[in-house]
Assembly symmetry: C2
């Protein structure tokens, strides 16, 4: 199936989809100490875009996000979080996506398409090695792009990624991260590096460690990290029970 | 204008509105040491509901939320924040809102109405005395109801309020509150009371004060509170410059 099939699918059976409401998935990962997002590209002029699609009549937006991410990238079974709806009247255009002037020339019969498409943004942070991207059912290409050096993406997708990054940066002050992103045993400097990559700034070593240890979700190990030039830093493990509790109730609710 | 006029307005001119996407506004206030939300009620069977309405074709959801809140309650000029979209296929029903079986009996001509209406939730926290609720353009009644003792509201509005309260409770760990909710000079126990009402739980006095003072947005005054039985607590004022900076960048970004 290619882009033309997608067009046929969604427009010739408009009764199956809410053509005025889509979801767009911002899947973040860390690779080469860089925060990246997963983008897809059809073989057309529109360029890179987020994996997204229309909500089917029978499903809510959470289910749509899961289904669409799976269909478009092969990624399955990850928890994504809704962060914002994008609603500008001119944010999206069917004309642009499907190159409708060409389609018109080919005498395709066009159904009535909505003038505005709302899009619900979802985000997730995944482990690069453990996330299997197999490519999409519409034969689109996928790639992880550095969010600090993005090209001009389709529609408002640069803005969606920028808002998703804000949401992620806010979220990591509440919910612990690192499990699945770090080795089983890790040092505080390694954990700090993870936060620095996501927050895109240097952090103060001692206040970072104080805050992290206050959260009481890490278990200090007896052994220290070997093979490090000067001092050998302590190794930590996540206390999974506490980690899960903290993920649910938030770690900053210490007021 | 009453509910019938609203029906006529939105359905006989469907081209003016996105009938598949509404906004619902959860306006919180504190009155009698209780967290309350503003509800409205039409003269029909459907009961209390949030001030909400459909997005007009020309506006984005932020503008719609402002316009609709003003039209439905008279409240003007407050900053509301988008927190979630509600998307269950059966969350809303035009039949239920407008009692369409009656309308059909009266031989009203019905336009095609969407089966599902998505709703974008917005919330705000306002000062009870300073918020002028004048009532709505559709002659609906308004009232502040205790969110812990709500009746069964229309549609999924109990869930929307519950999600809005979660969003508010999360937000106050990031953004300072209190300006406009407290007198110009206030004590730490008064500030703590505010947080306790919103969080709906008791807080530890000394860790609360330590955290608050760490935020460095309060100016301790020379005078102390008079007329208090035992010790006279210090009075504080907001340092408005720092308060505004902290509102923008968040107060917990101290990792």
């Amino acid at each position: 199936m290619d882009l033309k099939s997608l067009f046929t699918e969604i427009t010739l059976q408009p009764s199956n989809f809410e053509l005025n409401t889509s979801v767009d998935c911002v899947i973040f990962t860390i690779q080469d100490e860089t925060l990246k997002a997963l983008l897809t590209r059809f073989a057309n002029k529109i360029g890179w875009m987020l994996p997204g699609g229309f909500i089917a009549k029978y499903e809510n937006s959470d289910s749509a996000a899961k289904r669409i991410l799976q269909e478009r990238t092969g990624i399955d079974n990850i928890y994504m979080q809704q962060f914002k709806i994008f609603s500008d009247p001119d944010r999206f255009s069917f004309e642009e996506l499907f190159n409708i002037s060409d389609i018109k020339k080919n005498k395709h019969k066009l159904p009535k398409l909505p003038e505005r498409v709302f899009s619900i943004g979802y985000f997730a942070l995944v482990n690069y090695e453990q996330t299997k991207v197999t490519g999409g059912m519409y034969k689109e290409e996928s790639n992880w792009l550095d969010i600090k050096n993005l090209p001009q993406l389709a529609f408002d997708h640069n803005e969606i990624i920028s808002e998703a990054a804000k949401a992620l940066r806010k979220e990591i002050h509440f919910k612990p991260i690192g499990y699945n992103l770090l080795p089983e045993k890790f040092t505080m400097p390694e954990l700090q590096k993870l936060y620095e990559i996501i927050l895109d700034r240097k952090l103060d070593r001692s206040s970072f460690q104080r805050k992290m240890l206050n959260w009481d979700i890490y278990e200090r190990q007896k052994e220290r990290k070997e093979g490090v030039a000067h001092k050998r830093p302590f190794l930590y493990k996540f206390d999974l029970t506490k980690y899960k509790q903290a993920s649910e109730r938030g770690v900053n609710f210490g007021i």
